[in-house]
Every structure is written in structure tokens, then in C-alpha cells.
Assembly symmetry: C2
Homo-oligomer: 227 residues x 2
């Protein structure tokens, strides 16, 4: 309920305001939630262009100093809003292609249908003009790639994937595809396109791919699983 340390610590080591966090620092959790709710609402309803501290404060019926007390910047607030949102879980169908397609499908619809897409886009945009956010974002993506890479690692353990494959790099490729589609309003790709894209990463596009026919059959067979 009551967090002892200010949220702002997440993004910034403050030298100032030492007095506050010395003992007291008893923030009103309802107020913090109201502010995060308002931030998310403003972002969804009016878009990133009109996302300002003042707008959030108005919406939350909070004072600007209250926001600045706990979040050092617009970006820190954005990041907390994003952190609060649910994440997409990695599928585990026993087949890497289905795992990756399912992952992308879930991610796209999650971004599209909830506010997390807007929030994440804003976060990326903000990172382009705020070095602190940029650093946090890079760290975050590293973690996400490692997490996504577990799907590839599982496929390795099954012998589905060569042992010397850099699973993080593969995750990077897949996530990059998702990022750019988010950033350019192309989250409507149908499953066939996603499957094709994943397939290119998985099987390559070489004409002399000996397994191509078999692979197509396997693909058809497994399409049922992920529905």
C-alpha cells in the first residue's frame, strides 16, 4: 500500500529532496493511482501530442507539484504507466514457429486493443529526446529480448534449433519487426503475414532449402494448435 520510497527513484537518483525521503515520505497511494489512471486516460483519449503534466494534473484533479514530487519528468510518468500494464506472455506450444507467431499475434492485438500500444509508442518517442528514458528503454528491451529468447532456447533444447544460434539476436529481429509495425500504424497484419515473416527468420528464404516442402506440411499441420 504505502511505498516507503518515492517512485521517482526508479528513474533517477535524486540528490535534492533528501529531507523528504529521510523518514517521512508517506505518499498517498490513492493519489498516485489517480495520477497514473489520469495519465493513461489522457494518453488514450487525446494522444501523445496532448500528453502534458498539466493535462494529467487537471484530469487527476491533482496539483502539478504533487506529480513533480514523485516523478522527475514526463518520461518517468510514462514509464510507470507502461510498467503498470499487463505484459504479453510467451506461448509454449512445443513448436517454435507457432510460439513466435503466437507471440507476435498476442503482442499486436495487445498493443492494438489496449492502451499499452499508445503508451509504448509514446515512450519510444520520448526516448528520442530524453537520454534518461533512452537508457531505461535500452535496458528494458534487453530484458525483453532475453525473455523472448527463452522461446528460442526451449526450441534449442528440443533440438529444433542449432545450438550456436544467438537467441537474443533472433528475439531482436522479431521484436524489431513488431516495433516498426507499432511505430508506423501497421498492427493489422493478418496471421498469414506474421507467419510468413516468422518463417523467413526460421527457415530462411534460400531456394535450395531442402526442407521447404516438409516444412510447409508441418506448418499446415500445426496451424490448428494456435488457432
Amino acid at each position: 500500500m504505502l511505498r516507503k520510497l518515492p517512485i521517482r527513484k526508479k528513474l533517477m537518483a535524486e540528490d535534492a529532496d533528501r529531507a523528504r525521503k529521510s523518514i517521512g515520505a508517506r505518499r498517498n497511494p490513492d493519489s498516485a493511482d489517480a495520477i497514473l489512471d489520469a495519465a493513461e486516460a489522457v494518453l488514450v483519449e487525446s494522444g501523445y501530442s496532448s500528453f502534458s503534466i498539466e493535462a494529467v494534473a487537471r484530469r487527476a484533479r491533482a496539483g502539478k507539484p504533487t506529480i513533480y514530487r514523485w516523478w522527475p519528468s514526463k518520461a518517468a510518468l510514462l514509464f510507470d504507466v507502461y510498467q503498470r500494464l499487463k505484459r504479453v506472455e510467451n506461448p509454449d506450444t512445443g513448436n517454435l514457429e507457432d510460439d513466435l507467431v503466437g507471440f507476435l499475434k498476442n503482442l499486436f492485438s495487445h498493443w492494438h486493443e489496449t492502451s499499452s500500444g499508445s503508451v509504448f509508442r509514446s515512450l519510444i518517442a520520448e526516448a528520442q529526446s530524453d537520454a534518461t528514458v533512452a537508457a531505461v528503454l535500452v535496458e528494458y528491451t534487453k530484458g525483453r529480448h532475453a525473455h523472448t529468447g527463452q522461446m528460442i532456447e526451449r526450441a534449442k533444447a528440443r533440438g529444433e534449433v542449432a545450438a550456436d544460434v544467438d537467441s537474443t539476436l533472433v528475439a531482436d529481429l522479431v521484436a524489431s519487426f513488431a516495433w516498426t509495425h507499432l511505430l508506423t500504424n501497421r498492427l493489422n497484419e493478418d496471421e498469414a503475414t506474421l507467419r510468413r515473416a516468422v518463417g523467413y527468420v526460421l527457415k530462411g528464404i534460400a531456394a535450395d532449402d531442402a526442407g521447404s516442402v516438409d516444412a510447409a506440411a508441418v506448418r499446415r499441420r500445426r496451424r490448428r494448435i494456435i488457432g
Copy 2:
């Protein structure tokens, strides 16, 4: 030299200011170049966060109305700055892997060493809060993917790549990788990593890849070409 129609027409059909473009519209080309120069300089020296019309005007010793006369928004100005920069040409080594690796290598160093990286990052960021830029950016990327896709099409013609491959989608994958690395300050990847990433797209990561040994030999042989 002297463009008859305002640059702003590129991004926006103006209904207002009809009088100006009727016959007159004799813009001072030196002034326009000075403004674009100033915009680029501000962007490179102070970053996107301090890129404002006023800053550009100050730097160019121009009046704000002069800028607004010819560019409808900050975004339009940004886009013209980017358009003015040199593009990366597609390599044609006769081998798709080398083409793609060379393309990425050139793109990364071009983004890294010239101002085009900063400008493009800013453009993407701006697109997240300006629908007009977003539309222009999508159109632009479509064209770029088609252009990059020509490398894949050439490989198709050589029989290097299956005929039913969606070359635009492959270009999308490769470009997406580049985008996210630009957006997260990871343009320093060494060539080996680029080659590995491209290799995953080209040959897949399936363990039962029959051609993997031969492919590695071919790769070693051809590495000389692109240096």
C-alpha cells in the same frame, strides 16, 4: 533553383494563402537553404529536444513567418531536411547475403557518421504525435522497402531465392532491425553481428538446414568482396 511552388505543398494542400502562390511566390532560394542548413545544424548540435522553429529561425537569422510561409509544421521542415540528405545505395555484389550485410553496414555508418541518423530519429519521433508525418513516413518506408526489395528480387532472378518469397516483407524485416537499432542507440554493431542477423533471415535457424555447411563455405569465400 527557384521553386515555383512552396515546399509546404509537399506535405499539405493549403487552402489559405492562395494569393501568394498565384503568380508571385518568388522565394529567395538562399534563404530556404539557410533555413534547412540551420535546421540540420540545430538538430545535430543540440538534439531533437531543442529543435524548435524559433531556434531554427535564430540560427538562420530568419524570421519565423518566413519559415511558416513555406513549411506548415516542424515536421514538414524535418522531412525536407531528411530529403536533402544523401541516401544509402543498394550494393550489388552478386550475392544476397553480402548485399544485405553491405546495405546494413552502409546504413548504420551513414546514420552514425552523418546527421541523417539524428534527423531520421527525430522524424520517427515526430510521427508519433503528428498524423501527417506518420502518413508521410509510412509512404516513405513503403518506397524504401520496395527499393531494398530489389536486392532480393535480383537474388530471385539469380535463382538464389525462392520465387514465392515476399521481397517487400524481407526488406521490412531487415529495415526493422535497422530502425530499432537506430532508435535505441545501437548503431555500433560489428559486421559479424550484422552478418549473423542477416544470416538468420536468409538461411533460417533450423537445425536440419541441409545447406548450412556449404553456405558457410560460400560465406567465407565471398566475404572478401565486400570488405
